[in-house]
Symmetry: C2
Subunit: 650 residues, 2 copies
Amino acid sequence: MNTVFAGPVRPTPGAVSPLRPAALARVEGGFWAERRRINAEVSLAEGPERLEAAGNLANFRAAALLRTEGGTVPPGFAGDFQFQDSDVYKWLEAACWQLADSPDDELAAEVEAVVALIAAAQREDGYLQTYYQLGGGEPWTELGWGHELYCAGHLIQAAVAHHRATGSDRLLAVARRFADHIDSVFGPGKQLDTVCGHPEVETALVELYRTTSERRHLDLARHFIDRRGHGTLSSGADRGHDRDPGPEFWQDHTPVREATEVAGHAVRQLYLLAGAADLAAETGDRQLRAALVRLWDDMVTTKTYVSGAVGSRHDWESFGDAHELPADRAYAETCAAIASVHFSWRMALLTGEARYSDLVERTLFNGFLAGAGLDGRTWLYVNPLHHRARSHERPGDQTAHRTPWFRCACCPPNVMRLLASLPHYTATTGDDGLHLHQYATGVYGGDGLTVRVTTDYPWDGTVTVTVDEATLTGPKTLTLRVPAWCTRYTLALNGAVVEGRAESGWLRVTHAFVPGDTVRLELAMPARLTVAGPRVDAVRGCAAIERGPLVYCLEQADQPGGLDPDDVVLDPGVPLTVDRQPGLLGGVDRVSGVGRLPATDERAGWPYRPLGAEEPRSGEDVRLTAVPYYAWANRGAGGMRVWLPLAGLG
Amino acid sequence: MNTVFAGPVRPTPGAVSPLRPAALARVEGGFWAERRRINAEVSLAEGPERLEAAGNLANFRAAALLRTEGGTVPPGFAGDFQFQDSDVYKWLEAACWQLADSPDDELAAEVEAVVALIAAAQREDGYLQTYYQLGGGEPWTELGWGHELYCAGHLIQAAVAHHRATGSDRLLAVARRFADHIDSVFGPGKQLDTVCGHPEVETALVELYRTTSERRHLDLARHFIDRRGHGTLSSGADRGHDRDPGPEFWQDHTPVREATEVAGHAVRQLYLLAGAADLAAETGDRQLRAALVRLWDDMVTTKTYVSGAVGSRHDWESFGDAHELPADRAYAETCAAIASVHFSWRMALLTGEARYSDLVERTLFNGFLAGAGLDGRTWLYVNPLHHRARSHERPGDQTAHRTPWFRCACCPPNVMRLLASLPHYTATTGDDGLHLHQYATGVYGGDGLTVRVTTDYPWDGTVTVTVDEATLTGPKTLTLRVPAWCTRYTLALNGAVVEGRAESGWLRVTHAFVPGDTVRLELAMPARLTVAGPRVDAVRGCAAIERGPLVYCLEQADQPGGLDPDDVVLDPGVPLTVDRQPGLLGGVDRVSGVGRLPATDERAGWPYRPLGAEEPRSGEDVRLTAVPYYAWANRGAGGMRVWLPLAGLG
């Protein structure tokens, strides 16, 4: 095991980041522990079967055979996309983080088998992408759609995870050879002075630099980040695509340093910004940092769903215009939520500000987690906040039915790697001691302070922190994040209430801690109604039910008589109530309120009428029951609403 | 000239339709006359240049050369789509309707030149599509994307128009040869027992039958209509498209007779239904008629914008789910509005019901007309009801900037043919005499009654009908449509008020008319506020300004200080006022109201907040000015809103 907890983002000692991931972070119980157990026992365990069934592993075997036996290219690359290899790399990365956390011989053996397969498929010159090796064409000729640097990035991230989890250099050597090859091909005066259509290699190269200490990996990352936005990518015609996605899609429309708003393909945009944040941390580049703060602010202020999800448009999986946040047609790809967590976390490390972890929390519990079925083996690709009971699904929609795997299977292994590495995002250390960003039962420590957290979060706002070890004498500071959603909280040290207000989301407790000391944070979390700003047209006159970090929704399955959530309005004057349901949806707290039915089921005819002649409500009340949004669509395909029209508003 | 007014839909004497297009319909002054003047003098006149510049005519020349000179295929089919020929056919059809209305030697000469070119390009076996003739591949091998029957349909429609306008059989002969060829290829037991990816040939074949009296054209139309919905089309992979649009896109998901809702690609759906309505009229097929009534009801009740526009989704240019009607991301293609007019008009003829012409009126004045720039030479492809000032346009969006021509140029010549044939949609005759469906200054007649209409519609609701000829003695009935938007009206016969109520939208005046008799209908048209039904989530808490048949919008250009329409709410308590602006946007009546500004420009930070803590309004009032929606985006690209948030609703 390493001295530092194995996680995906590890700034070097020279980095300017005021915060570093904690040296110790173990989630041992509660909400996330259960989701991580399912991730390990079901999702990760079944990964190799899925990758076998989809042909991803066969592609590597074929490429290896071609390399060792020579001869003609075997026919039949499996899969519809150039980036099939990345599914394997992402599963592998996830499995490595899982192994770092909880050794498992069977999983370890599978990991080594896949590592061997990857190594065997790599060409002598370091190049590796089975699509092109198996007859898909010449390497490096389709920079737009080819995803070669994207796949290289995922290979590098898997190799770094493998190295950090196992200490082995075996996959790292493969990654280094590929990185060297890339370095020989890309750059000013070299064969190609352009970038990849899908960012990803940037963050990977910084992490490779952090692992190997080879400066040229960092330089190459900087080159790729700075080269973007200069229109070097072709128009996208390289795969005969008949629609032009435009430069925003490729993240080639404007240099990151000059950009004022997030735009284009959401995952591409956020992977790029994650890489740029890594670069800014390692180089201290203040201009780049300022751009990243500006872009994050733009995203959060104008382009983020209440669920934390981003990327509202189906068209090209892209960010919409400011305040374009439709609930029904939300694309809100699971991978975009993951990318948002990646970016926000790096910003938290880079700036030390709590608001970035506020968004991480919101996204994890809602926009991200909705993508993962409770069973660990079914997934949502898009995550709308409204599903009509009478919707009929169309190709590519994949809204209400969880699916075991996708033709474009980017999301499932991406969920796996985030859940497997989740402890990494919970705690940091810095000059001022230990900080808890996320609350989960477990052990966290670094810089001479180790604490044990006990909590029933997100169902209960009480977080008890007990000091396990305090190796240095004198005062130390324990910093706790008070989530932005929380307006009332109390803090007690060894049972005595401590007066003190959070500053910009951080609540600091400075004390000469000794083992056994307890800090108890109580976050009041009544169910509450939330409305959107006036520029969010899509949900005007509606409220969302929230409680703690959780966004709630009405699912048809929970309503009396199978009432369609589209057929009711919420009475905001009746207080919401909460009850615990251990047997429901893996165990949830439900929130109940009162709704009102329409007087008539007036659905026929022209749906527009004079102001003042609106459809009347009967005044008949009905009990409405909300469940956490993350758990929706686990019981078939009824109607679902996050945003509920408010009675009295027409 | 024909004894019957030359128009696009002409049921045979044996058709079951209770209404027939009037034998005489001439629009001679007022609103539509001006738009038709611009259509003739600018749009139609410049058509050949556009078609030359885009290469459409060159394709025909090349195909003709190949046919006469033989040899190898000349390189370079011009244009990106298989259906480039259809642009030529649609312009030609439009030019023929224009010639039927107003002879013009120059236009007539251009028409004949294009007809000659088309005839020269046709293969010996009757086949004609320059894309495939010029090396695009084997004919009839790409039924999904090939658009061969679609182009054949537009050729047939152009030929029918040419024949009706000029009496010539020259283009009709080309169309008949192609129809014969199609008949030899398609059908049970023949080479192909499938359909075209894009409906259009169905309505064309019925009209060809109406022109030639050859029953097999009608039989072929019936075959194509009945063959749909049985999944005979390939998956769409025939052009290497990498996304599968699914069977709804092709209108191959369910047989028309069994369908319960409009779905898939809006233009394809509505062209198909127009053809089915023609078929039902000629065959008296009651099952088909019942399906069409059901589908029209579904469209109007759940999938139509207040502008009459349809097809809300950008994805595959499709209908959305019921009540999925976003204002900002409305696709609302101009061609879909045209297709809606085609379908509704045929339903008006088939059923005799006024509500179909209500929708025709609404669509013509709003969703359709918005697609045509005031200058006659710029166009909108999509017609959103909300445009953000800070929107940045992306490839394929084409929202706020009118464009001289499109890469996919379906809309401009489609607008031209509807404007050129517009009088056709205004009046009918039936067993009960003459009916006026639309109000425009002009002469209308048939069945022994000819009337002259004088009106300043849509700016004024007074319609004066003077009898010009009444060739039969005894009582006759003149039937006037009272639009559904109108709640107060009076009728006078020779100056005396007539008591009488409209029944289902029809107001009947039975009288022994003699020349000089006047019927005066006064439709009250105060500016009004309209709200949407509670299931239209996208515009909850908002109202639209309407006046008469016109939908209004706020454009940034008209607001004080260039106020962004997104930054204001409307006070519904202050009455709206109307003023005439002859110099504005070709002459419009403006509507003014009072809005309220936000107290602070609070745009930063998380945009969701607790209910009760909404952004306050200052109470500061501002004068808001609305212009007709059809005229928007003719003064650059500022913000625009049809739906205005109402003050007092949060």
